[in-house]
């Protein structure tokens, strides 16, 4: 056996920006044959972006992408990646729900055609499923849409490991165990080690630090688009990983811990949410004038709870698990999907939530609309020469400001925020933080879901979510980044 292992892929000084937001900064990476690279980091660290660039789904801005010794950075795409043996299993599934398992395998293997293709496809995927997940219980003629999400993930993973024409050198697994139960997850990780033993490579992204520590050869820690640490797995411990993911400087805050405590203990309860059926259940409580933060890794139930609160308030229904005492408004984080009305002007976008109060004789009073537009243009400093311009003429940060204006300018007593600062520049952020603080001092309640730990320092009270439940609660005075990280990731190894 040669001591020189073949290098599969190497990144050198790779950059990727989305406008003002730097998703990848000067990233170096290398993966040799027969090794498993673990990749960890908190929200927005750049892991997904990095993997997307590696798999060819996103182009990089600059830097060298060397695959099997050739620099392919120019025109690198999914086809090239595939031909060079790089596959990826992303979190969002790329199976066709209306096709069977065997048919889905056919879709990615052009050579599975002609007479008898179905049988070959069935055999191909069945063998692989048996190899990776013994006792999987999946029939190759099952329609994917009818399978549970766990089984779908198993199919997607097994499919990535099937080989027909294109070689297989490196498989990227992005949170592959998120929908798998513990025994199935175990099977997958064991298989990864087996594949690695056969000179295949793997990049494993997971928030389950135990998995990373036990199954990787090397670990890369990312934060804010940069690689901040890279060491053999044996040199890491769970605490070291957590420490590396955090920043060296503790963030500042202008909030007064005394006021936070006073509000929590004496102000009226505005929102109560939580599943009473669950044991060791921590309820979310928000009081008048309080800024409550929802933390933890993205997609662990925070947005779901916000929507539950929102729906309950909008529909006026009574539910056991949610109680809301006042009108609500919501600031969306995903502007395109949940917030912006792209055909409308900035002014209309801002006023839409508040129109009810502008109506006289069944007609909306244009002067009142104009007034509100101008008021908020100045208050939140939206950079535009004219509020009647189309909303898309604004920069991303200013569009987000418009969404804030919409929610804050309404009659809502409770404002829900769904990770609204994503991709917003630092100047805007600080302006809005101040605004939120002022509004809360005037009695407005905020439920603030954020994926950035630093922002939690603007909250009076923080709830940390994991796997759909609240697992920890911290008051402002006790808040540290380490506590949040600890609670966000799985306890124990």
């Amino acid at each position: 056996m040669s001591t020189e292992r073949k290098q599969i892929v190497r990144f050198e000084a790779v950059h990727k920006s989305y406008g003002a937001v730097k998703a990848l900064v000067n990233v170096d990476l290398k993966v040799d044959a027969g090794e498993c690279l673990g990749l960890v980091g908190h929200n927005g660290a750049g892991k997904s972006t990095l993997m997307n660039v590696l798999a060819g789904t996103i182009p990089s801005d600059q830097g060298i992408i060397s695959v099997q010794g050739k620099d392919l950075a120019a025109n690198y795409d999914v086809k090239k990646a595939h031909k060079n043996g790089i596959r990826c299993v992303f979190q969002e599934l790329s199976l066709c729900p209306n096709l069977t398992v065997a048919e889905n395998v056919r879709v990615v293997h052009k050579s599975l055609k002609g007479f008898g293709w179905k049988k070959r496809s069935r055999t191909l995927i069945k063998d692989k499923l048996d190899e990776i997940f013994p006792d999987h219980g999946i029939y190759t003629d099952d329609v994917v849409g009818d399978l549970s999400i766990g089984k779908r993930q198993m199919v997607e993973i097994a499919r990535a490991f099937t080989v027909t024409d294109d070689p297989l050198h490196l498989v990227i697994l992005d949170e592959p165990t998120s929908s798998l139960d513990s025994s199935t997850a175990q099977q997958l990780l064991d298989y990864v080690r087996k594949a690695v033993g056969n000179d295949q490579s793997c990049i494993l992204i997971s928030h389950l630090l135990g998995e990373i520590l036990n199954y990787s050869d090397r670990i890369l820690v990312m934060k804010d688009g940069e690689v901040v640490a890279e060491r053999p797995a044996a040199d890491f411990t769970r605490d070291l990983l957590v420490a590396d993911m955090g920043s060296k400087i503790e963030a500042e805050s202008t909030l007064s811990s005394e006021r936070s405590m006073k509000v929590r203990n004496t102000a009226e309860l505005m929102v109560r949410a939580g599943d009473k059926q669950q044991e060791d259940n921590i309820e979310l409580l928000a009081h008048k004038g309080e800024i409550v933060g929802l933390a933890g890794l993205a997609g662990n139930g925070q947005a779901k709870m916000l929507l539950q609160v929102y729906d309950t308030a909008m529909k006026g229904t009574r539910r056991d698990s949610v109680d809301v005492q006042g009108p609500v408004s919501l600031v969306a984080g995903d502007r395109q999907a949940d917030g912006i009305f792209h055909l409308w002007s900035i002014g209309r976008n801002v006023c839409v939530r508040s129109l009810r109060n502008m109506v006289t004789n069944f007609l909306i009073d244009p002067s009142l609309e104009q007034h509100m537009s101008e008021l908020w243009r100045n208050k939140i400093k939206i950079k535009t020469p004219d509020m009647n311009n189309n909303i898309l003429s604004l920069s991303g940060g200013n569009q987000q400001k418009a969404l804030f204006a919409r929610a804050l300018g309404s009659d809502a007593e409770i404002v829900l925020m769904d990770d609204p600062m994503r991709g917003v520049d630092i100047g805007t952020k600080y302006e809005v933080y101040d605004l939120i603080k002022n509004e809360s001092e005037n009695g407005r309640t905020f439920l603030w879901y954020t994926t950035e730990i630093d922002e939690l320092y603007n909250c009076d009270y923080v709830y940390i979510f994991r796997e759909g439940k609240i697992v920890a609660e911290i008051s402002h005075s006790e808040l540290t980044e380490e506590k949040v990280l600890q609670a966000s990731f799985e306890k124990g190894v």
Binding site: S94, L95, C96, P97, N98, R106, V107, V108, K113, K118
Partner: protein, 311 residues
């Protein structure tokens, strides 16, 4: 065993066959004399052209679009069949091939400009009708002898419509469900992004689906004149609604690429039977179209119940 039979999956796929058999059973009960070769042949006579039109619509629905022009298109192909095809077969075949190519071209246009198929096919319905009126201004024409012979053929034991319907269902079923490219085509309806990412051309698949729809539309028109002998531009106007209802009754979904060829044909057969059903129920033919609507609603209601059970 009972678990599988009462599972939502089985219930959903059995619904088309169940509806058809239920209706057939009701008819047999009302008028036992229909349980004969002659009876079935008469009741299901027009099943073939309707089934072909339904299959055409199915291909469009498979790629998440809707075709509001299939009725007039079938009328056009019927008119061409009753005129050009009889007088000048070569020209007739060329014209019909041109029609199929036009359909494929529509698919390309819709894909290229990302157009709503409803509006485009709406416009095309005028175009097809206009051409049909030019080809055959007044009802008339004569069907080619060959087609008449095929459609009038007396198969022993099993009535021709049933044979043809079964053949259509099987051929399309095998083509879509058993061929390797058929799997990819259906995939473009379920997750187009994923299929495109795997390197397949969405343009090609769309054009193929539309072209196939045009092909079956041509067959529908030709089989129709085989039954009626003469043609007229408006002869198949109702086929648009029939074809949509047929696909839906057959378990097809509006989005997601889940369609069933066998289900679609069964749906077409069910719709065809409603006329006879109403006659034997002594309900006036005025209610024929209403009955079709009611069946559609009942089937959809049952489907909604089954889906709710699954949730």
């Amino acid at each position: 065993m009972w678990g599988y039979l009462s599972s939502p999956k089985f219930l959903r796929s059995a619904l088309p066959a169940a509806s058809f058999l239920a209706l057939l059973a009701a008819i047999f009960y009302l008028q036992p004399r229909t349980m004969s070769y002659f009876g079935l042949n008469l009741m299901l006579q027009y099943a073939v052209p309707i089934a072909l039109a339904t299959i055409a619509q199915m291909h469009i629905l498979m790629v998440n679009d809707l075709d509001l022009s299939i009725g007039p298109f079938v009328g056009l192909t019927a008119c061409i069949g009753a005129t050009l095809l009889t007088t000048n077969p070569v020209l007739g075949i060329l014209a019909l091939t041109g029609c199929i190519a036009a359909y494929a071209g529509l698919g390309a246009l819709i894909y290229w400009r990302n157009l709503p198929s409803i509006v485009v096919t709406l416009g095309m319905s005028f175009v097809w009708l206009g051409i049909a009126v030019i080809v055959l201004p007044t009802p008339g024409g004569k069907a080619p002898v060959l087609i008449k012979a095929i459609m009038g053929f007396k198969f022993p034991f099993i009535p021709l419509p049933i044979i043809l319907a079964t053949a259509i269902a099987l051929i399309v079923h095998i083509g879509l469900m058993h061929s390797s490219y058929g799997a990819v085509l259906r995939g473009t309806g379920g997750n187009p992004k994923a299929v495109a990412r795997a390197g397949w051309s969405l343009l090609k698949s769309k054009m193929l689906m539309y072209g196939t729809a045009g092909f079956f539309g041509v067959l529908a028109g030709l089989s129709l004149i085989g039954l009626t002998s003469a043609a007229d531009a408006h002869i198949a106007d109702r086929y648009t609604l029939y074809s949509i209802a047929g696909v839906i009754l057959g378990g097809g979904e509006f989005v997601g690429g889940r369609v069933s060829a066998i289900g679609a044909v069964l749906g077409a057969l069910t719709l065809t039977l409603t006329g006879s059903f109403l006659i034997f129920m002594k309900i006036s033919p005025d209610w024929q179209i209403g009955a079709q609507g009611a069946i559609l609603i009942i089937v959809l209601a049952l489907r909604a119940l089954i889906n709710r059970k699954e949730a």
